[in-house]
Amino acid sequence: MSANGGCQMKTLPGLILVAATLSTSGLAHAKSKCEFSQNTIDAATGERIIQTEFDTVTTAMSMGQTEANGGISILMTGGQKYLAINFDATEQIRLPDEFADLPDPSWDPKYRDFLDRLLGDTAIFPAGSTARLDLDDQTSVVLVRDRNLRVRTQYAEPGQSVSSRSSNTQTAKKLVGFLAKMADAEIDVNADATRHYTVETKAILKYPIDAEAEDILRRAAVTGIRIESRDRYYSMMWRSTMRQIVGWSDKSYLKIRDAMQCIDEAVGG
């Protein structure tokens, strides 16, 4: 009896382990299931519109001036697929020297022009501008915008931050590490901070996917995106360090492929 009981006791944890493993794999499977932000029929045109939920892409680090956070999604409307990028970039703009020593530069019309440019210059994505998707085979796919987009930006004055940035935990963690490095290097961060405006650009950018790109993106691992605006390029987490290239995290490589497959399944279904 005791032997049988012992055997049962040994079996029970084993069964629990198996059940837990199955449950965990089920959870993992559930997480990989497709989620859609819209799946509807346009009442006016009768066309089906399907879009996957935005999926955040991440990297190990980001401290450049025109690097963007965000997520990716695939949208299909009227039979055309688009890569949609939920894009959030920050850039540091240095206060020009001519205003640096003024006690209150807001009286200077040129200063007001400078502020206007902060809002006006950094957020135009013209038709013909590109998104270059870098692949793990060390080639790239280039998508081209088919329409103009002008995006409203926000800026924060020197020493202040755009409110949404301060609530971004990931950015805050990076900032802590960055400040520690600056302190180690004995660089006076505060001195610089008094000269920099922070400009934040948020946009949802859509790029039509042509047949060749569609074929590749169904199979490819994407390691980073470089987005072109009228005046800038924004890296969605592509940079090199001294010893290695850091792109998206491994977990993000297949997110575009997975989203493409979700659309295919939805259309097929």
């Binding site: 401290m63 450049g64 001036q65 025109t66 690097e67 540091q92 703009i93 240095r94 020009p96 020297d97 692949l135 793990d136 085979d137 060390q138 080639t139 960055f178 490095k181 600056m182 290097a185 660089i187 610089d192 000269r195 920099h196 590749i216 199979r219 490819a220 691992a221 470089r226 009228r230 005046d231 800038r232 390029y233 890296s235 592509w238 940079r239 090199s240 360090t241 001294m242 010893r243 290695q244 290239i245």
Partner: protein, 201 residues
């Protein structure tokens, strides 16, 4: 007896070859999505940095049957007191088609490799030295600097592989549009090129 020695010699040779290959690490091991060709890039090997703001990394590449030496260049140069234009960014690092990579060998001779395709380097802006990379401060304290990054592949034929394996190298010079990037292996000749070549299967 001779046969036994021969067999042992072959076995030892094979063992040491596989042992050397076992030390090789690969950054990318995949297939080209367009051609289906096998693509293999060794882990990047860094040159010794001698000038602040410029460093290079090497990788041995195999694509299909072709072999390449790839050079990754990261340069912090250019300066602008005002916000740089897009044209400034686009022209910061331009490596033309058929660009030359000169390898200075230990005996003082130069061996040239040529790029299959040119690239425009990816350039980002660094404001007031506000970016740190490793233990180096980048940029200057009174304006905008450029950080440019490129990866260029140089085709290797049998003669090139033999020449580069025959001697150690001391310096590299990448001939870009309007400027050259000089990357040194340091005070002593280096076997870094041979190291990556040995890992190209």
């Amino acid at each position: 007896m001779k046969t036994l020695i021969g067999v042992l010699t072959i076995a030892l040779t094979l063992f040491s070859a596989s042992d050397a290959r076992a030390d090789c690490k690969y950054q990318w091991d995949t297939s080209n999505y367009r051609t289906g060709e096998k693509v293999l890039w060794t882990q990047w090997v860094m040159n010794k940095r001698v000038n602040a703001g410029l460093y290079g990394l090497l990788s041995g590449v195999k694509e299909g049957d072709r072999k390449y030496l790839a050079l990754q260049t990261v340069a912090f140069d250019g300066f602008s007191a005002s916000r740089p234009s897009k044209e400034d960014i686009d022209s910061a690092m331009v490596i033309p088609d058929n660009a030359k990579l000169s390898v200075l060998l230990a005996d003082g001779t130069i061996f040239d490799l040529f790029a299959e395709r040119g690239v425009v380097g990816d350039t980002s802006i660094v404001v007031n030295g506000s970016e740190l990379d490793g233990d180096f401060q980048i940029g200057r304290a009174d304006g905008y600097s450029f950080k440019s990054h490129s990866i260029v592949k140089f085709l290797l034929d049998d003669a090139a592989i033999a020449a580069l394996n025959a001697q150690l190298a001391t310096d590299l010079r990448l001939h870009a549009t309007g400027k050259n990037y000089d990357i040194s292996f340091g005070s002593k000749p280096s076997d870094k090129i041979q190291e990556v070549l040995a890992c190209i299967p």
